[in-house]
Symmetry: C2
Subunit: 335 residues, 2 copies
DNA sequence: TTGAAAGCGGTACCAA
DNA sequence: TTGGTACCGCTTTCAA
């Protein structure tokens, strides 16, 4: 017979108080480092705390203090396993750690339902604020909570239907710069590989490509656009397909790190014509060591995280004030 | 003059009850989807909930339910921005999401003090369990909490001074396999680049290198070992230095992803002699496209996450039972 | 310096 | 089907 011995429940303040022969309130004072306790009493209580393995219960404490301050921030990103999301998370962690914040994190996978569900979960847990890399088209479902004082900062994507602070990369400008780089190299037929067109960021990058071509007096040929690409394999296949066109591109702009990797894989295949030049959005480790050299538009993810943390803390300190939109410039890294 | 208008506090169940003209308990029933409420009343309450923007307060609920179930898991990894940690996190997320768990995440940066501080923080927040990629040498400071029923699973590193479940990679075996691969290629002087020797994982990998050499009847020359390496640059410099030895290595085993990248950078430099063959622990994206082809020991991070989640849930369901140690095999990917 | 009692936002038990 | 009351673990107020 297996007996599942329930471990003894954790000691509470009351138990510490009883064991130390003092009142509950005195224990509270000691645990919170408040003054007004005789040194001898304080020592006695601390000994019992140690002895009973007492651990402060933040939930109960927060509840009683009432002030809606859990010192937790909810962070919803696309995919924690993706380098971009992971680095953003890390930079948020660094920017908030010293003030004692803890991060509740989750991945959305471009799923709007998951976003709403997780946002609700975070709110139920009374996070002090929310950093959101939205998967949904519109975030108006958050309006009531924002009105109720929940600080929200959208990152990477501009909020729609909701007036909150946000931090984005200059997607259009970055893509334009990358495309112009290819134009300067004499390319006239430049393909574009993009993510789901439902993602604002993806649309902005497509727009940058279009702007660069138009400004150069070229037609933005729709036949050279492949979007809705989400994986390395899809990008690879798309590029190979483009190269088999009657009038194939001589260069390609890959609008996301995963897609750039896909292009580089495609270049290893038997190509029907000359090797196209690749420029990608997002730098990827080791790419600087690869032949052919691939120029990239690099985003300063750490700056995005820092800015988001700053905006959040400002709202945390004082609700109100106009909504802010920080645009972090993208840098062209020519290789 | 700036007025910081405090937003109205969130509506409570009591307020919903008053507004709906029912008792507090009835609202609780509706919110929790409990039976025993007339359809008309339920609808009325739901309307008021919507109207007042009521949001359930999990903290208060958990407190009253008492059962120590916050449905939150604390995950402490080395560095969220590192690919390995990020993928582990993601696989833990996937494995626990369906059961409604939320992840509290933080990076330790090999800092034992930070580990203790963050563990305390997690416990104060009453996480249901802890996944720990330890930075500390010994985890005995957790003994009281484990005895009190806190499920802890150590990942990547075997716990010391604490009897808890753990999931590790076969570091020694993986490194041995990688080193044997180099021996088969005829190499006799094989260098080893490793992380801080205080990290058990790093020591195990060094041991694998040693075992392979000894088994081949060779001396494990300490002059060919460089450890304490933490960055790409440090690994690069270390390899270049080794290659300038009077009797330089003809091959090198890099014991971590960052160090392998460093080696690949070194190969781009002006080398004093022939190019050494590199084998690395951890696969890195794009490495398969690089020349020279680099063989790697690949770890199944997702399997580690799944196993950790499984062990955790087992403890969550029923405390007790013998401590388990899952070893995930490492795979040699020959290129 | 110390403690008793009330209450934070909910849930459980039992009575109506 | 509904509601009153006690209470989860802690902090606050105020009195001793």
């Amino acid at each position: 017979m297996t007996i599942h011995q329930q471990p003894p429940p954790r000691a509470t303040m009351r138990e510490v108080a009883t064991a130390a022969g003092v009142s509950l309130k005195t224990v509270s004072r000691v645990v919170n480092g408040e003054p007004g306790v005789r040194e001898a009493v304080r020592r006695k209580v601390e000994a019992v705390v140690e002895d009973l393995g007492y651990r402060h219960h933040r939930g109960a404490s927060d509840l009683r203090r009432g002030g809606q301050r859990t010192r937790a921030i909810g962070v919803l990103v696309q995919d924690i396993a993706n380098d971009y999301s992971a680095r953003l998370l890390r930079s948020l962690e660094d920017a908030t750690r010293e003030r004692g914040f803890v991060l509740l994190t989750a991945s959305l996978d471009e799923d709007a339902d998951r976003e709403r569900q997780l946002v609700a979960e975070m709110i139920a847990r009374r996070v002090d604020g929310l950093v959101l890399m939205a998967a949904s088209e519109r975030q108006d479902y958050l309006a009531a909570d924002v009105r109720a004082g929940l600080p929200v900062v959208c990152v990477d994507r501009v909020p729609r239907g909701l007036a909150v602070d946000c931090v984005t990369i200059d997607n259009t400008g970055g893509t334009r710069a990358g495309t112009e780089h290819l134009l300067r190299h004499g390319h006239r037929r430049i393909a574009f590989l993009g993510d789901l067109p439902t993602i604002p960021t993806a649309r902005e990058r497509l727009e940058g490509w279009r702007q660069a071509l138009t400004a150069a007096g070229l037609e933005a040929d729709p036949a050279l656009v492949r979007d809705g690409l989400r994986t390395v394999g899809a990008a690879r296949d798309a590029l190979l397909e483009l190269l088999r066109l009657p009038d194939p591109p001589t260069a390609v702009f890959a609008a996301r790190n995963v897609l750039t990797v896909g292009c580089l894989h495609a270049l290893r295949e038997e190509l029907p014509g000359p090797q196209p030049e690749v420029v990608g959005f997002d730098d990827v480790e080791l790419m600087d060591l690869l032949e052919p050299r691939t120029t990239v538009v690099r985003q300063d993810v750490e700056a995005v995280g820092r800015a988001a943390a700053e905006l959040l803390e400002r709202r945390l300190a004082a609700h109100g004030g106009p909504v802010q939109h920080v645009v972090v410039p993208a840098e062209l890294v020519v290789r």
